[in-house]
């Protein structure tokens, strides 16, 4: 046995011992079973792979044995978080006092009620007539004024 392979074997033994320590107490015979198989594995690389699997198995079982990891425990966490978020949402809703949209600006620039007020025009850059004033705004005023003749 060369130095590298004996090092691999030592690592495998250490990992298997670690796995036995992590495994829940009730399953310690199973941890022993996995560890003792190492003595029957001839190749050191195979022994190392085996030991890595032992570590994986022991952590999986350790996590599965934890009460907070169970489906029932998770369900409770999810339900409690949902209730909390619902209460926060209701509290904010009450403070908003039924307001469903942001407050309007003091001056609405899009209306054309005042003749002297600046008229803002929506622009459509894909349209060749983008600069044209829309009839629902300034043109409407023009039509209503007899001193200005509409375009023909």
């Amino acid at each position: 046995m060369n130095a590298v392979s004996s090092r691999w074997r030592r690592w495998a033994m250490r990992l298997a011992q670690h796995a036995a320590g992590v495994m829940p107490g009730a399953r310690s015979p199973w941890a022993d079973a996995m560890r003792r198989e190492l003595d029957y594995i001839e190749h050191d690389s195979a022994a190392l792979r085996w030991a890595l699997g032992c570590v994986l198995a022991s952590y999986r079982l350790r996590l599965a044995d934890r009460p907070w990891w169970s489906a029932r425990g998770n369900w409770r966490h999810v339900a409690a978080s949902s209730m909390l978020m619902l209460l926060v949402g209701l509290a904010f809703h009450d403070r908003a006092d039924g307001q469903t949209e942001p407050p309007r600006p003091a001056l609405n620039e899009t209306t054309c009620d005042r003749i002297d007020a600046p008229v803002s025009v929506r622009r459509n850059h894909d349209n060749a007539d983008a600069e044209r004033v829309q009839p629902d705004c300034a043109d409407r005023d023009r039509l209503n004024r007899p001193d200005i003749q509409p375009d023909r």
């Binding site: 792979r49 085996w50 699997g53 999986r60």
Partner: protein
């Protein structure tokens, strides 16, 4: 739809390996080589089957001196019934696939 228990590919492979030599005590490394399952997958499966009463286990003295006792496994009567049932289901599925 809830998943059927003991119906994963790995469990079926393990049950098939046990069924092949149903009365023989098998050890972990042997099963790992036969099924291709790593120890990290194999042992949780063995534990689950044992807890469900489908597998019996015991310590076996080593054949060669200087080696530790070994944990060995064998299907119980109910485990054997389940393995046979799954084998029949696999054969039926294979035939259905062939005729489709």
């Amino acid at each position: 739809m809830p998943r059927k228990p003991n119906n994963s590919r790995q469990t079926r492979a393990l049950l098939a390996a046990f069924l092949e030599r149903s009365r023989t005590w098998r050890h972990g490394y042997d099963l790992s080589k036969e099924t291709g399952l790593s120890s990290g997958t194999l042992y949780p499966l063995l534990m689950r089957l044992s807890e469900q009463g489908l597998l019996e286990e015991r310590w076996q003295q080593a054949e060669r001196p200087g080696l530790p006792p070994r944990h060995v496994y064998r299907l119980t009567a109910s485990g054997l019934a389940l393995a046979r049932e799954q084998e029949l289901a696999a054969i039926a599925a294979e035939r259905a696939g062939a005729f489709a």
